[in-house]
Amino acid sequence: METGYISAFWFIVVAAITVPLMLGVGALLRPKSIPTRRGTQAYECGEDPIGSAWVKFNIRFYVVAIIFIIFDVEVAAVLPVATQFKEAVLSGSAGFVFAEIFLFVALLVLGLIYCWVRGDLEWVKGVTQNAPRK
């Protein structure tokens, strides 16, 4: 357990403390306010909010999240191997490490290309433009 992590711990604690600190101070300082009906409604450019904040079910957020997590995992897996690359280059066995990383990355790029070709990356699903290919 490096001592560095103690500093990190304290940083997180201090950062976490500032939020309630600030809000607390604000709550203490400001005058009491009477909640008015209109004031407490959800702000809709002054209009009266209609219906619950229903959002059209849209899946493309989720597609982005999937691709993100797969590539996030990829980066997390590649990093330790990448740290050994410099030492491998100096010791001459760079080929193997390069091959390993390349294979790892290439396969996932393949996945990306698949998504790209199948039109999953398009954010706006045009009716015609993205009729799924046969």
Partner: protein, 107 residues
């Protein structure tokens, strides 16, 4: 304080992981919401991860335990992605993600 020593030794880790496992099982079994089941599964996976890391430090002082946890995390991520995709597909099919609804495969 034996509590401090306890929490720092392997028993602490094992206790945490077993509690996580129990809660995971409980959550998997009792959740009506499909995503709730998924949360339970994540808990169980993490419980296993903790065990591996704990044994890698306290028992064998070798990196292999942590490697297994690393792979657990990688695979759990992929699993979560696919599981949730299935749930969303199920949602689109039945407009609900109540686990009991998903019983097309019954007798």
């Amino acid at each position: 304080m034996n509590l401090l020593d306890f929490s720092n030794s392997i028993e602490g880790y094992l206790l945490v992981s077993s509690i996580l496992l129990t809660l995971g099982i409980f959550s998997v079994l009792t959740r009506k919401n499909a995503i709730g089941i998924l949360l339970g599964v994540e808990l169980i996976l993490n419980a296993a991860g903790i065990n591996f890391v704990a044994f890698s430090k306290f028992h064998s002082a070798a990196i292999d335990g942590q490697m297994v946890t690393l792979f657990i995390i990688l695979i759990a991520a992929a699993e979560a992605a696919v599981a949730l995709a299935i749930i969303l597909r199920f949602y689109r099919l039945k407009q609900t993600i109540d686990a009991d609804e998903a019983s097309l495969l019954r007798n």
